[in-house]
């Protein structure tokens, strides 16, 4: 038990360090701007006086570490500063959208994870059968498709016939079942994209184990193929499978950007794309920080969980 706590503490410390490094990288992005933030905002209309005034207002005269510290502590308290384009507080712009994006990602995950596990286990069980080959080729194709291709096929197929809406209009008063119904197509698109990868990895992890002597033993004592896979192979394959799931949930973070634009879904991804087009670096930084933190935290969770399922990994150090 003690060793487990030490392991978790170690991983948490490493995760915190990664987060700090990530935030430094994202912050230094503004340092790369030709000129500085003030001249980026004012553009052509800059006069020496307005520039100096804006610099003082934004605190640009402080050295970089001081500004980094102010930015980071602000972000931790939910204050990301103001947007360069609209001058509104970024926190207000993000608040509603963060919830929407989380909802979409969780929705897709709830569909994709069980589906991928079942398909992967079945493909491993019926290895080299027609099912396995079709599932594999299908998965490889789905991985290779751009998200917008899958999205528009679904729109053409399911939205044209009137079953599901092709645009998502969420308001704070939208009820939960309505939300599920309206976000079905974006969630399904994301599901198709990530299921393929998770399924292939699940299959590979289980097939890898099927060559082990203890599986041979189970087979010789007469256990059924399903029991062998579920009772003997799956528990040992959990570590790689958890890792793959986390990796794909992290992938959802980037996939969400394109899918949100296709379905006009009011989430963070769409806001980020708009802000990149407007070169609103303050908003982009804030959203990048949120996405990157989610990514780091997911990987951290996967690392801890997979170590817990396989005590041998603890010795890894």
């Amino acid at each position: 038990m003690h060793a487990v706590l030490i392991m978790i503490a170690q991983r948490l410390a490493l995760g915190a360090l990664t987060l700090i490094v990530v935030s430094i990288v994202i912050f230094s992005a503004t340092e790369l701007l030709p000129g500085d933030l003030a001249s980026a905002i004012l553009g052509q209309s800059a006069t020496p006086e307005t520039l100096a005034a804006l610099r003082a207002q934004l605190g640009l005269n402080d050295p970089a570490p001081v500004r980094y510290w102010a930015w980071l502590t602000g972000a931790l308290q939910g204050d990301f500063g103001v947007s360069l384009a609209t001058r509104r507080p970024i926190a207000d712009m993000i608040e509603q959208r963060l919830g929407n994006t989380l909802f979409l990602a969780l929705y897709a995950a709830a569909l994709a994870v069980p589906l991928a596990l079942v398909l992967g286990i079945l493909a491993a069980l019926w290895r080299n059968s027609i099912f396995d080959r079709v599932a594999n080729a299908g998965a490889l194709s789905a991985i290779s498709f751009p998200e917008f291709f899958i999205a528009y096929i679904l729109v053409l197929w399911l939205a044209q016939t009137g079953y599901f809406p092709s645009m998502v209009r969420l308001t704070p008063v939208t009820s939960f079942p309505d939300k599920l119904y309206m976000s079905f197509l974006p969630a399904l698109t994301l599901t198709l994209v990530v299921t393929a990868h998770m399924m292939r990895m699940t299959r590979a992890a289980i097939i890898n184990l099927m060559a082990q002597p203890y599986i041979e033993m189970a087979r010789l004592k007469g256990a059924s193929p399903l029991r062998i896979v579920l009772r003997h192979a799956l528990p040992n394959a959990l570590a790689p499978i958890i890792n793959v799931i986390a990796l794909n949930l992290a992938y959802l973070i980037t996939g969400v950007v394109v899918v949100e634009v296709v379905f006009v879904y009011p989430g963070l991804g769409q806001l980020m794309v708009d802000s990149v087009a407007k070169r609103d670096i303050a908003v982009v930084q804030a959203i990048a920080l949120i996405f990157a933190s989610a990514y780091v935290l997911l990987n951290l969770t996967a690392d801890v969980l997979s170590t817990l399922t396989n005590p041998r990994l603890m010795k890894r150090g």
């Binding site: 990530v22 994202i26 992005a29 490889l140 194709s141 751009p146 992290a250 980020m272 087009a277 982009v284």
Partner: protein, 304 residues
Amino acid sequence: MSLPIFLILFLIGSFALAFVFRAGLSRILPHRHAIVARDMPLTAAFGIMVIIAYVFVALMAPVLAPFAEREVVGAQFQPWGGAHPLGTDRLGRDMLSRLIYGARNTVGIAFATTVLAFVVGAILGIWAALRGGWLDQVLSRFVDALMAIPSLIFSLLLLTIFGTSVLTLILVIAAVDATRVYRISRSVAQGIVVMDYIEAARLRGEGTWYLIRREILPNALAPLVAEFGLRFCFVFLTISSLSFLGLGIKPPMADWGSMVRDNATLITFGDITPLLPAGAIALLTVAVNFVVDWQLHRASGLKE
């Protein structure tokens, strides 16, 4: 024609084509290669066939296209048929011609980006493995820090700073992907630098560049070629996605990603035209993936 029927017909047709292609290939090629061609799975034959077709279209674009890339030749959103087999786009440009030129622009830019990412990433990765010590530590920790941020998010951040033009797009995506290539080539090279022949070459007094070029690269080629295929798919999809989002290759240049974006309104009227450029992207990535899958399978089979 409904979608499932079309899909099934398409699959049967492409497999039949792949079968004929494979049979033809094993007939034409000299014996040693003919055996490889004969034994390859249909998916790989299909992949190679598609890649050859794309390269042909990209090289011959001006000959094949009925109209010029940026020329407005008719009314907006004309239906299929007549002088414009695939209709016209939002500004009245010929869809077919733009699809053909897109092969040149989109694939060409993605290819150039991948090559750049590979040259930078592979050389730095092998160099780090070869030198070891503090240089390796500094480079690797730097790459770790950059890789902790999802690549699309990082690309968006960089594009905000440097603006969106084709040149910055190539440089940004190449830089982001070079970190991934660095990781792979470093780990591949680490297995090679401990070999005796590297020691021998060092004792002969060969320089770092010679070691990378003549001793390590030839032995690291197989995994790196497979990685090149996969990396190309990633880069190609990223660039297409960015163009689709309006942040990559911009009109009037014909590009598949931005063509989907430009004509997306047609989807709501049940017109499949915007799916054609998207499908062109999908088909090429599937093809490359099929070939890479086969190569990886072959490489792992030969090792056993």
